[in-house]
Amino acid sequence: MTGFVSFFRRLEGPQTVGRGPAFWSLFAIVLAIGLAYPLFSDGYTVGNTVYFFVWVFIALSLCLIWGYGGSLSFGQTAFFGIAGYGYGVLTLNFGAAYGFTLIAFVAAVAIAALFAVLLGYFMFFGRIAGVFLGIVTLAVTLMLERFMAQTAGPEWHIGSARLNGFNGMSAMPPLTIPWPGEPIVLFADVGLYYFVLGLLVFVYLALRILMNSSFGNVIVAIRENPERAEMLGYDVRKYQLITFVIGAALAGISGVLYTAWGQYITPSSMGMTAAALPLIWVAVGGRSDLTSTVVGTLVVLAAFQALTIYGSQYALVFMGVLLVLTVLIAPNGLVLGAMNWLGRLAARLTRRAS
């Protein structure tokens, strides 16, 4: 029983911003709005909101590896792509019956994680760190993009799934939940919305618990000073590898959800632009905090989409400017900076009131 309570007490802690009744009330209100939102909106807009949610998982993966762990991975899109293509290949071959899309979901994420075990083993046990880690991971994702781009010919297929080169793979079934009578097909509107929202809340809370646990303590210790962490008896390489694999799985979740959402995946999902964008969302929001990452990612994505509609070619330039401004003005992230400021303000007000 006490173990149970202390487990949930880890929802709050030094590694995550936000604590106490005020924060959790706000959390409940935001969640309630999120749950009620489809009732007040049309299917297209709800589907578009799912699209934003889908990207939050890859942003959280970067938050974990880079923000908390201090290792800049430039190649989370590699895991995104592997899981996305994995889902496509599996479902195009085996269909959607008997809940197989959910099995394909888990399997595709597992394949991405397995790839991360291999890649991470060579990087971390080879003591690659700092900028070189960024270079290796970027090279991996660009290599995968190049490879997939040249698979246009009919000889490139896995089972009955054609890879289709730069045109990408399409027409895979959406996620389908088996149900007595009629299976529930999660098309990119209300059904998928609730599925993804539920998954997002679960992942967010689970990561809060993980980062405030003793494991999370070691992860931030490695970010602050890997030598000291090792000299406290922690096998730094092992902790870095585990973090990297969890991050890869999160990026993989994004990949599968994206593919299932649009029933479509292309090599450019692993390209340079795709690799750079999550870095911007996370840096602008506040990479060293989960909540800041979620909020920042959603805000920047919505702004980016609005800009793309009104001035398509300038949207990417704006993202670059936003990154530069963030680095200059609030290097820890705009959302995180604002939340810390609000926290200090609240503390000052309560002190004055008492």
Binding site: P14, N217, A221, N225, A229, L232, G233
Partner: protein, 238 residues
């Protein structure tokens, strides 16, 4: 059986022999100080003992076990612990969290909280516990890191210049801290330039010069040794 035994330890970077056939034996329960002019190879010797550098030749025995090939974290598990020359605290984390990270592998829950409080008291850092470790004064950082190092309850504590940047009072307090730990059974090997500290705590002193053991004995014997004075003066005149 000796606690630590270095046998003919060699380390060279290119043509430079940083340590040259160093033999050193530490008995359990002693406070041993390592002195010598800059560049004598003291910090390199620490890095060899900790496994951050690997010797070109020679062997390291800890409590009878050959640890020459072990990784650093595995040596820590055997009962080694260190305070670095430049304080290696986790600057962006609170003082309390620094200690928690050091203690969490041996204690949990309420026991962990109690142990953190006890250590904060021992280090005199209670009122700073919520501070970021990076905001502490230099001396406080040194103490915090000593606190982290002793959290592991090591059999052998390595201290690389524990009193650097401290006032004479702080240095004396650090000396008392070390004697207190030693009274509890901890063996200590300290690199130190401050002779007041060495005089206060050292039971045995080893002088390292140009990567070799130059002299060894009690502090009085070392101070009386004219050859030791000559290498320090020689350096001062160089």
């Amino acid at each position: 059986m000796s606690l630590l035994e270095l046998r003919k330890l060699n380390k060279h970077f290119g043509g430079l022999h940083v340590t040259n056939a160093v033999d050193l034996t530490l008995e359990p329960g002693e406070i041993h100080c390592l002195i010598g002019p800059n560049g004598a190879g003291k910090s390199t010797l620490f890095r060899l003992i900790l496994g951050e550098h690997h010797p070109g030749s020679g062997e390291i025995f800890f409590a009878g076990e050959n640890i020459t090939a072990l990784k650093s974290f595995a040596r820590i598990h055997r009962g080694l612990s260190v305070k670095f020359q430049v304080p290696g605290v986790f600057k962006g984390l609170s003082v309390r969290q620094n200690l928690e990270i050091a203690l969490q592998s041996r204690h949990r829950g309420a026991e962990l909280e109690a142990e953190i409080s006890r250590l904060l008291g021992f280090l005199g850092l209670e009122s700073e516990q919520a501070q970021m470790a990076g905001n502490l004064s230099h001396g406080q950082k040194q103490w915090l890191e000593i606190g982290m190092a002793i959290s592991l309850r090591p059999r052998l504590l390595l201290l690389d210049e524990p009193t650097a940047g401290m006032s004479p009072e702080e240095t004396h307090m650090t000396g008392e801290m070390v004697q207190h730990l030693n009274a509890d059974g901890m063996t200590v090997l300290a690199i130190e330039h401050d002779m007041a500290f060495v005089r206060q705590v050292a039971q045995r002193v080893t002088v390292l010069h140009l990567g070799q053991v130059f002299a060894q004995g009690s502090i009085d014997e070392i101070v009386a040794d004219e050859r030791v004075a000559a290498i320090y003066l020689g350096q001062a005149h160089a």
